[in-house]
Every structure is written in structure tokens, then in C-alpha cells.
């Protein structure tokens, strides 16, 4: 579904991503793991066109994403939920959601809004409130809901568990699993919380200092004690 080929991204002389290749298959969750500074965020930002790679490309159904401006991504079926969540706090909850649906040719239909509200009833109670008042967990739900408004084929999530209580993380991960199963959504899940991520992912990719260390089944990675100690911290 999403193919990353030899992707290399530099910030000046620093190579934050160095020849990374892997494929995230359709209807599966691929976890991207690694320590701070491993290049996970850089990978997502390069794939979604926010940064130009020095080398390599990323393809979604044949279209080269790295030669496409970021604002064209939702139209191609790719939604990227950035690190730090990216809730627009000055807009209301519903405005944030509506914004997510505008990229689609048919614009957002009321039915899509209702679907998101059904998935996240807490948001439904806060429709008219400024997103500013939401808690961390609610904000994460809002950005996932907003991404879903574009009815993406591929969802890139950058550390959705950051700063959230384990119970909320479990709730959000369960919901992701459900979406993958019901809609055939393809998810690339960047996480530092490797244990939780591998528990819902189908596949895992481990990065270290910009290089791909291993790409395998999530269960295999979770069982590899040496790998866990060396790179995954559990």
C-alpha cells in the first residue's frame, strides 16, 4: 500500500534518515519504533511532503508522495496526524472536524461528522467548545477523528500515546484496531511506547540513528529479547 524506498533526509549535514525502505501493507498496522532522535518523525514528515528527501521516494498506489506538496496528501488518501497532536485550539471541536473533511472532493457530509461523534462521544458533547478546553486524551481523539473526516486510505500517526494515561492509550489503540478491521485502513504508527504499539500492530519497523534496523512481524519483534533491550526499552 505505502512503499518507502531508500528514503534519505538530511537537515544540513545531519542525515536524520538514511536509506530507509519498507512497505506498510493495506489494512494492517505497521509500528515504527526507535529511541528519541531515531528519525521517526522525520520519516513521517518526509512521506507526507513536509520535507523534501535528499534521495529515495515514497509511493501510495503508484503516486510518488515525496514529489507532491503536503496539501495534496488528503486528496491522495493520506492523512498525517503530526507529533504534538496539531489540534487547532482557537477553533471549536466541530470546526476542527469540518476542516478535516474539506480536502475531499465531495466536502464533508453531515454523516461523516456523525460517524466521528459516534466513535468519540466525548467530542459530541463538546461540539461548540473551543478545542482549547479539551484534555490530552480528548485532543488525541479529535485529531484522529479529524483525520478520518478525509476518509483516508493511509493514516500516519506520530506518537499518539505521548503524555496520555495508559487507560486512554489502550482505548485509542483499541479504536485504531477496530478501524483497521472495519474499514481496511492502513496505519503507520510511530511510537516510543514500543510494548503497547507492538501489542496492536501487525508489523514493526525499528529505526536507529536514521537507519532501518529490522522490519518484521510485530509478534516476532516483541519476542526478540535482545532487540527489545537494545532498541525498544522494554
Amino acid at each position: 500500500m505505502l512503499q518507502v524506498q531508500d528514503l534519505t533526509t538530511s537537515y544540513g549535514p545531519v542525515k536524520a534518515l538514511d536509506g530507509v525502505s519498507f512497505e506498510a501493507p493495506r489494512g494492517k498496522i505497521t509500528a515504527v519504533l526507535g529511541a528519541n532522535g531515531a528519525g521517526k518523525t522525520t520519516l513521517l514528515r518526509t512521506v507526507s511532503g513536509l520535507i523534501r528527501p535528499a534521495r529515495g521516494a515514497a509511493y501510495l498506489e503508484g503516486a510518488d508522495l515525496t514529489r507532491t506538496p503536503a496539501e495534496a496528501m488528503p486528496g491522495l488518501g493520506l492523512s498525517h496526524v503530526p507529533e504534538g497532536r496539531g489540534v487547532i485550539t482557537e477553533l471549536t471541536v466541530e470546526e476542527n472536524l469540518r476542516l478535516g473533511g474539506l480536502a475531499r472532493a465531495d466536502r464533508s457530509r453531515p454523516a461523516d461528522l456523525e460517524r466521528v461523534y459516534t466513535l468519540f462521544p466525548v467530542l459530541s458533547d463538546r461540539r461548540r467548545a473551543l478545542a482549547h478546553v479539551l484534555s490530552g486524551g480528548e485532543r488525541q481523539m479529535l485529531v484522529i477523528g479529524r483525520a478520518l473526516m478525509a476518509t483516508p486510505k493511509v493514516l500516519l500517526l506520530d506518537e499518539p500515546s505521548l503524555g496520555l494515561a495508559p487507560r486512554i492509550v489502550a482505548q485509542i489503540f483499541d479504536l485504531l484496531r477496530g478501524l483497521v478491521e472495519s474499514d481496511g485502513l492502513t496505519v503507520v504508527l510511530v511510537e516510543q511506547n514500543a510494548r503497547s504499539a507492538l501489542s496492536i500492530a501487525d508489523f514493526g519497523v525499528v529505526l536507529n540513528l536514521g537507519r532501518l534496523i529490522v522490519h518484521d512481524d510485530a509478534a516476532t519483534l516483541a519476542a526478540d529479547e535482545k532487540l527489545r533491550h537494545a532498541y525498544l526499552g522494554f
Binding site: A70, E71, A72, G75, L91, R98, L102, A150
Partner: protein, 292 residues
């Protein structure tokens, strides 16, 4: 009573113009963090455009409409040609460029239109109304000023609050990167924002010029008052800019009427300093809602 009413009404009319000008500054500030010092000369040049059209024998209203459209175009061109190349660099670069533009437009206006005073027509009477034995200071043109600014503001509010385009413009202003990831063409929204701001600025220019004299620097003091009004309102808030403009207009009118007209500029400066000292986030700021 007579003087009080006169002073208040004059202040209200003037405040509406400051509000419009402050709104133009705020629209640009909140989307690009740039104080557009060229706003005044941009409005000046579009007022001259109106004058050229009117002098060519067309009606005031054609001149008025052409000037507003010219403002729209000028704003878009300035964003594309002057501001866009330094986008992503430190905002100070763009601010310095708008200062440069200030000088360039002044010089151009002096060359093209000459620097002598020229009178600008008004579509409505400039005499006050008589109600009983009260001679109201509000003129036909004053009422037109208030209505015109209110209409433009209502249209802007409707655009921002009720339309998808307005939602995309607000999203671009608040968080450009997130807006891009959601498919918003942020560059176009910025251009449109500058265009609308320049249109509102042009409106202020036309309203100040009406029934009065124009010359290349007739708007320059307004940029100061507009800026004070915008700071009063918190710079980030269009509604705040409007309230700030009205407050400033009325306050300065009372200073002028009861204390002395030579103290108006000083009073504006004192108000600016007080606000910056006591409520740097503007009169209506809630600490928690300020952006970091």
C-alpha cells in the same frame, strides 16, 4: 449636553475608521505575525485611484468601488511579490520590507499624483442634522462611514464564521502546518488574507478622505491610531480591534473637545503605553487563551 453629544458622535465616527484600519492590521498580524507598516500608503494610493476615476468624470460610487478592488489587488500583489519571498525567514525581514514599501509608495505617489493637497468629494452632506434645538454633530457622511464599516465587518464575520473558505483562512492563520496537512492551500489563504486586509485599509482611507483633503501622507497618522487601537484589542482579535478602535476614537475625541486638540497624539501615546504596561495582551486578554 450639545458639546458632549457632538464630541461622542465625532468620536464614534472616527473610531469606526480607526477600527477598520486596526482590523486591517490585525488580519495580517494574526496570520503572518507581521505589522504591515505599508498599510497606510497602500490605502493612500487606492484613494488616489478613486480620485483619478472621479476626476475622469465617473461617479463617486464608481471611484469608491474601483478603489476597493484596487486595494484587494494591491494587497494580493504585495503578499506575492514582497512578502512571499521572505516567508519562513524571521518576521523582522518582512516588517522591514513593509517599511521599505512605505517609502517607495510615498515616493511613487508624489511622482505620479504630485504632493499638493487635493480635495476629495463626499457622497453625502457634511452638515449636521437638526433635532429640535439640538444640533447633532453626526453628518450624512458620518452615518455613511459608520454603516460602511459595519457592513464590511459583518461581511468579514460572515466569511470567517460561516463559510468553508473562512474556516480554511482561520486554520491557516492559527496553524499553517496543520492546515497544510489537512489539504488547505495555505499560500493562497495568506494572499487572500492580505487582499482582504488591504481592502479594509482602503475603505478606511476612502472614509478619512471623504469631504477632506488628500496628499501622499494624509494616512500616516492613522496608521499610528490604527496600531494603538489594534494593541488595545490585543492584536490577535478582529473583534478586539473593532472595540479598540471605537474606544480610541471616542477617547481621543473627548481629549480633543475638552482638553485640547494639540494633545490628541500625546493621549494616544499615553493610552498605548498604559495598555502595554498594564495589559500587554490587550484589554480583553485572558491569560489562559493567549497563544504561546
Amino acid at each position: 449636553m450639545q458639546q458632549f453629544l457632538t464630541t461622542a458622535l465625532t468620536g464614534l465616527t472616527l473610531g469606526m475608521v480607526y477600527a477598520a484600519f486596526a482590523l486591517a492590521l490585525v488580519l495580517i498580524w494574526r496570520s503572518t505575525r507581521i505589522v504591515n507598516f505599508a498599510q497606510a500608503p497602500m490605502a493612500m494610493i487606492t484613494t488616489y485611484v478613486a480620485l483619478v476615476v472621479i476626476d475622469a468624470g465617473y461617479s463617486y460610487w464608481i471611484g469608491f468601488a474601483v478603489a476597493l478592488v484596487a486595494g484587494l489587488v494591491l494587497g494580493a500583489v504585495v503578499e506575492r511579490v514582497v512578502v512571499r519571498p521572505v516567508e519562513g525567514k524571521s518576521e523582522i525581514n518582512a516588517v522591514i520590507l513593509t517599511l521599505g514599501l512605505f517609502i517607495v509608495i510615498h515616493a511613487l505617489a508624489a511622482v505620479i499624483f504630485g504632493s499638493r493637497y487635493r480635495s476629495f468629494p463626499a457622497p453625502f452632506g457634511l452638515r449636521g442634522f437638526q433635532v429640535g434645538d439640538l444640533n447633532l454633530a453626526i453628518t450624512g457622511f458620518g452615518i455613511f462611514t459608520i454603516v460602511a464599516v459595519l457592513v464590511v465587518m459583518a461581511l468579514l464575520v460572515a466569511l470567517f464564521r460561516l463559510t468553508d473558505l473562512g474556516l480554511m483562512m482561520r486554520a491557516s492563520a492559527f496553524n499553517a502546518e496543520v492546515a497544510r496537512l489537512l489539504g488547505v492551500k495555505v499560500g493562497r489563504m495568506l494572499t487572500l488574507g492580505w487582499a482582504l486586509a488591504a481592502l479594509v485599509g482602503s475603505l478606511a482611507g476612502l472614509l478619512i478622505a471623504g469631504g477632506s483633503l488628500v496628499h501622499p501622507s494624509y494616512m500616516d497618522s492613522v496608521v499610528v491610531y490604527g496600531f494603538v487601537a489594534a494593541v488595545l484589542g490585543g492584536l490577535d482579535s478582529p473583534a478586539g480591534a473593532v472595540v479598540g478602535g471605537l474606544l480610541l476614537g471616542v477617547s481621543l475625541s473627548f481629549v480633543s473637545g475638552y482638553v485640547g486638540s494639540e494633545l490628541v497624539a500625546l493621549a494616544a501615546l499615553v493610552i498605548l503605553m498604559l495598555v502595554l504596561l498594564l495589559r500587554p495582551g490587550g484589554l480583553f486578554s485572558h491569560a489562559a487563551e493567549r497563544r504561546v
